[in-house]
Amino acid sequence: MLRIDGVSRRFGEVTALDGVSLEIGQGEFFALLGPSGCGKTTLLRIVAGFETPDAGTVTLDGADLLAQPPNRRPISLMFQSYALFPHMTVAKNVAYGLERERLPRDEVRRRVGEVLETVGLSAHGSRKPAQLSGGQRQRVALARSIVKRPRLLLLDEPLSALDKKVRADMQLELKRLQHEVGITFVVVTHDQEEAMSLADRIAVFERGNVRQVDEPIALYERPRSPFVADFVGANNLFPGSSSGLDGIKSERFGLLAGTPLAELPTGAQALLAVRPEKIELADEDAARGLPGSVLDVSFYGGVSHLSVDVPGHDKPVLAAVQGASSVRAGAKVKVRWEQEDAVIMAADQ
């Protein structure tokens, strides 16, 4: 339904977007994920109509979006700051968009009442935004955006201003709402956990380019480039050269077991990635594994994170184990993994 084709945007010397193409389907919950300054917010503002691309097209259901001013696009944007009108009550804020459509008063009142009930703020209609908590403001902003029944709702870092507990609640709330109203959601975030828990599909951005578009599990288990492997979740990365179907050749450690995602020419620069939860810690006299010593053990309740100094590897190897760890800091261990748990990708992608 939303088709972004070859969109580029430069700000002076900085290229914010470099020929980005994406297709987002009806009813999808789509996330644009990337570090700050990667161009994801610029793309959102182009779709909303507050920026104009230097090149490329954006169409919604086949109709050209770029030709329309923001107030004529069937799209709502929920701002990171919420942008609630401070001089209006909650009900007035929510009614603002409907009044612009010159709908009859009764209908406006009915729809405002309905949407405030959906977000659980029926009792707060006559309050001013300053009298609400952060989570409540977010709900008002959401209500104001969905009350117009847009074809597409864009959300700019929707949860970043909330504290951790409220954030978890709002995450569930957003998913429930998206399901309930059936509007296509596009969320921009720099938080990979947020993207993974919310979205049906995720596009990972780096410096104005889309690196990978995939479902959360595929993105996590089969990253196609070093950037994605490193940015989405924690990962242990080992450089080396491709050596067929069962691993890479590392200068320091010899053959490391792994599974290539795509066929690589033998000898090509490659990177092996293995998730902390796939790392197994073995005794120092075990037959297989890279020898090292435990630097630090952090207990998080459900899991423990261990960092292991492996001589010859520039960063400590991270390992995650269920529950409390029996290994103490300073212990000599060997780290190892199964061949199918490590992925191999070309280093220059």
Binding site: F50, R72, F79, F85, P86, R100
Partner: protein, 259 residues
Amino acid sequence: MRRSKLLYVPFWATYVFLYLPIAVLVVMSFNSGDSAYTYEGFSLKWYGELAGDERVVNGVVSTLIVATGSTVIATVLGTLLAVGLARHTRSKALDAISLMPAVLPDLVLAIGLLVFYGMIQLTLGLYSVVLAHGVFAMAFVAAVVRTRLTGADTSLEEASRDLGAGPVTTFMRITLPQLMPGIVAGALLAFTLSLDEFVIAFFTIGNGEPTLPIVIYSMIRFGVTPKINALAAVLLIVSFTAVIAGQRLTKIGESRAQD
């Protein structure tokens, strides 16, 4: 922490320095004698004479017309200027030029306006003072409104556009209410500036009915009487009231905008 009582001495000395002349002025306005310098007893007779003096009464009317007219012009144009500068241009030069009428010596502005009016062959009168004060005060209004605009969040205006409002509706329903405290403060500033402005008014009034500062100037040429003191005391009360009202309104506006 204990504060030394000694520190209050310069504090109070400054206040005395500032307000003693004004206090003397007010006291002498109640003088029953004819001198502005020696107090002879309490009387309200100078206030009575003031009300009976046609020149003074006409001066008050002129001044109010000029102040009101120029405040309207300055407030509308100054607000539009501030919005234009903040939202539709990034030129630093335009920004600086907009402040010029406020920074220029009044005398330069007055001569410039006089020459300009002569060039376009405008017959001088009260309305030429209204226009002149409008120009002069506009710069102050623009500066005051501007400070509110730079603090204001542009995402509010974008949100309004996003919700289907055109540029005009957005300006009327979102931008203006946000700016209201600044606009009110700017308007009151414009009003009080015009109220006691002498140089520009003197140059551009032509044969129009003189404003109060010009009336006072011509009265003083024949010596200071307690009548002038009484007039000054009345002016003092008017501008004090305007300033206090302005501050109150700005505060109410701000607390409303934040509510």
